[in-house]
Subunit: 356 residues, 2 copies
């Protein structure tokens, strides 16, 4: 394995009690950095001390938002450290790059550098089930002038953050509000990319949902305000009459790696699985008929997030008596089991990085 | 007038030949800075040396895009420096703040600080007609953790950039492509705000338009792909059969200050003016009937930008023989005249700041 230049931090930080910190609030001692200059391409990959970044006040991303990111996790399995589906995440980074006209990265180089970084920071990977080291690669246009145009220079970083189990108080259902006023992304927009614009567009609706007592927003399509898209940071799946159903990838939602994992495993377990347009009316109908058996989100942060209440236009559908459904529970146990090494990883979802 | 703390730059830069530099590439010696902390509100307004900014690698704006900005101009009028409609721009900044859930600023304080900053930098305001000092206020969420949520801390800056006349080779028509694949902003989205998300969503379409030989993109609505919205950084106006027509402010386009200026002046000149939905089919029809007399953009950068060619689905409409129309010419002369002091400013569009 080729390695990149490594500049060691002069002092190392004290590691926090991961069970007591918020998501994404603490970072490890080092980060990966790489620079893109037109004419030179991506250059100077290196691992350097975690530190503030210096940008021009005219920085293209602060003004015009040309940036992308990824989110994946490393886990402890006994004395081993593994990453969950790293290559799938890096490929998605390059897909986001394509959509935002950011020059793609050399996946092999970044993959190796990520492995090197995790190896350096292996003591930061928490050892309790559910805890993990969250991995955040990101790229932003770094030009320092005020023209609305595709950047000529970029920075890429990978930062690492130890995170607690998502369900600090135990695996439990969430309340979700179907959003019918605001739109996160629409066909022809940036919905398929992991890019700041989509998250900026979700902030206000998130506030409104909270004020109404819901945890998150379920987005509808921007054109007909009828077809189900995804949750703020999760894909959404339904179990209707024994079938696992989820919105198709139509360009306006993220192709979740957890979604992919769940669909593959569900098929292997013998469930009928369907990716297609699903209208909110179909969901209401299924609910009325008593065949809406389960609703759950899928994403790197929570893995599986059972939905207990789905609110739409002021009316609440209570799903499975506001209890975790058996499918969601089984899938959560399986995937988190693969991640922590309790389940045999027959799909090679996890990739061994280093011993601790 | 109250003043804010001023830290003078130890050395001053050499001023560039403004006629030879690109838009937004050079900045003055100082900038305005203000900080927001939850509990404390906006505090520590000050004018400090223009310098790079330090952000956390987990900066909320780089990852989730919670930011807004403004763009206005200061001009020389003989030995005086004026700003064009500063309060309207600052009010629009607060409107963008509302949409992005950013705490609003005290307009009076910022207005005074801007006047102080311009007074300090008065020698940077170029003296040739068409040249100006571009003023870029911006605010971004400055939190350094990876949660998708409304920020708890913000920074505001105002930076200044001397800019050449937009029409370096003389006032001339541009070619515009009506975009039917990509969507910039849709109803329920962020289109009414000056926020990075909208510009990020416009980058790829801009590239495609350039490749096809057009200068800019004219956006259609995201729902029906039928109604005209605005250009990448301008509003759009039509002169149809003697009437000045422009898309109504429906929440998905920016309420341009130049648009407002043009509509007001056109009414005073006795033109019928209408703000309403305009479909691309209506424009094609008017073109075929020979009543599409003029098409032009309006914005701070160019003031008026006559459109010579409007391309839609591979067919070009040639407007007014690809010549500047008389209305666009008259409006351009009038507004730039008010800005440079050649026309009497009966509306108080310009605000006196200082003598040089
Ligand atoms: C908008 C959005 N959708 C879906 C997901 C789920 O994707 P994944 O399973 O790859 O984490 C995420 C978060 O990662 C997201 O931000
Ligand atoms: C998207 C967009 N529309 C319209 C405008 C024109 O607005 P104004 O006349 O206030 O400059 C701008 C630029 O300022 C813009 O960025």
């Amino acid at each position: 394995m080729t390695t990149v230049k490594f500049v060691k931090a002069p002092t190392l930080k004290e590691k926090p009690d991961v069970s007591k910190i918020g998501f994404g609030t603490h970072f490890t001692d080092h980060m990966f950095e790489m620079t893109y200059t037109t004419g030179k391409g991506w250059h100077d990959p290196q691992i350097i001390p975690y530190n503030n970044i210096s940008i021009s006040p005219a920085n293209a991303t602060i003004h015009y938002g040309q940036a992308i990111f990824e989110g994946m996790k490393a886990f402890r399995q006994g004395n081993k450290v593994v990453i969950f589906r790293p290559l799938d995440h890096l490929k998605r980074l390059n897909n986001s790059a394509r959509i935002l006209d950011i020059p793609p990265v050399d996946i092999e180089l970044v993959h190796n550098a990520l492995r090197q970084l995790i190896t350096i920071e292996k003591d930061w990977v928490p050892n309790k089930r559910g805890q993990s080291l969250y991995i955040r690669p990101f790229i932003y246009a770094d030009d320092g002038f005020l023209g609305v145009s595709v950047g000529k220079s970029y920075k890429m970083y990978i930062i690492l953050s130890p995170v607690a189990a998502y369900y600090a108080h135990g695996f439990a259902p969430v309340n979700i509000m179907v959003e019918d006023t605001y739109v996160r992304a629409t066909k022809g927009g940036l919905g398929e990319a992991k890019t700041p614009a989509n998250y900026a567009a979700s902030l206000h609706a998130g506030l409104v949902a909270h004020q109404k007592g819901y945890d998150q927003t379920l987005w509808l399509d921007g054109v007909e305000r009828k077809y189900i898209e995804e949750v703020g940071s999760m894909n959404i799946l339904f179990k209707i009459n024994g079938e696992i159903v989820t919105p198709e990838l139509d360009g306006s939602i993220l192709s979740g790696i957890t979604r992919r994992t769940v669909l593959q495993v569900a098929k292997e377990w013998g469930y009928p699985v369907s990716e297609r347009r699903i209208s909110i009316d179909e969901i209401k109908d299924a609910y009325k008929k008593g065949v809406l058996e389960e609703v759950f989100g899928s994403g790197t942060a929570a893995v599986i997030s059972p939905v207990g209440v789905l609110g739409y236009k002021g009316e609440d559908m209570v799903i499975n008596d506001n209890q975790i459904g058996p499918f969601a529970q089984k899938m959560f146990d399986y995937v988190t089991g693969v991640q922590c090494g309790a389940e045999k990883d027959t799909h090679n979802f996890t990739e061994f990085v280093t011993e601790v």
